[in-house]
Amino acid sequence: MTDVGLRRFAHAAPPVERCTLCGTELAGRHGHLVALDDRALRCACRPCYLLFTPTGAAGGRIRAVPERYLADPGRPIAEPDWDVLQIPVTTAFFFVNGDLNQVVACYPSPAGVTESLLDLAGWERLRQAYPLLCLPEPDVEAIYVTGAGEAYLVPIDACFALAGAVRLHWRGVDGGPAVRQALAEFRDDLRRRSRPYRTG
């Protein structure tokens, strides 16, 4: 006898995540695609994900989010350089919006991701001083900067996952201990995953 009435909801299993292209059931860890037309992050199974890894696939409108993590441990961003960007927080990620050819700064906040366009000249100066900042692929990779000035090149989906966690745990004015812990865990994860990037 199938459950009827409210029992149908009380005993239903959570829905399985499916590939947004082919509908295959997804594993907990799976790749993501950025659809540039609606700027949405879409879950994808491995075969569908791989379809969009070559440059120019789908006319460049759907792009696979790369999986590399890079760091430049010898070159933390110095405070005066950071101040040039005139952003009000110490934890942020930056990505290039390829359609607008603009650098977007994002801050995880209780309202989700807060975006602001960045002064391009300031970013350009920073790129010259910190070569890691020249590497992210537009729209799919970001530079994540911790409060201590550590900079990492990370997949954009990781940034949005962090922003989701921050939003979920935010309490009070500064986010509270749970948010600090989420940020610390994210940083530890970046330190573990990142390969050092060396210039010349």
């Binding site: 006898m1 409210l6 029992r7 149908r8 005993h11």
Partner: protein, 173 residues
Amino acid sequence: MTGADAARLAADRIDRLLAELSAADPRAAAAAEELTRCLVQLYGAGLARIVDLVGAQRTGELAADPLVESLLLVHDLHPLDADTRIRRALSTYPGELEYRGVDAAGVVRLRLSGGGCGSARGAAVDRIEAIVRQAAPEVAGIELDTPPPAPPLLQISRRPDTDVRSVSAVAAP
């Protein structure tokens, strides 16, 4: 409206709204379905904690309220087991009915022994199933044995050797 009806009416209303949404926007309907699931399960988890904290005896007292009982049943938190609840619910059934218990697969076995014509029996079956389903919505199924139907009435006809004309000749000399 009794308390027990409240959960059923809410469920009916939710189903109707989901059906409306489903016709207009299946993706929105899927999200609404998931939203309902999240809320019902959150309140179910809260109810489970309350049942844990107050203990079986107090929960039993609270279950005397029809609304509370119906929600405990939704979340499988009723302090009495299915067998006890079914026996209790059927104890007031007026007809001749034998309750044979819940088998290992969770199917309720019943035997209806009273007579009655086909449609009267059909109504009785529906009523019994509704009583069992309300008392123990978690059961896997209901098997209700009914006695074989009474033999069909015999057609009364003329004796084969009766002659229609001769009969009328007798009647009208």
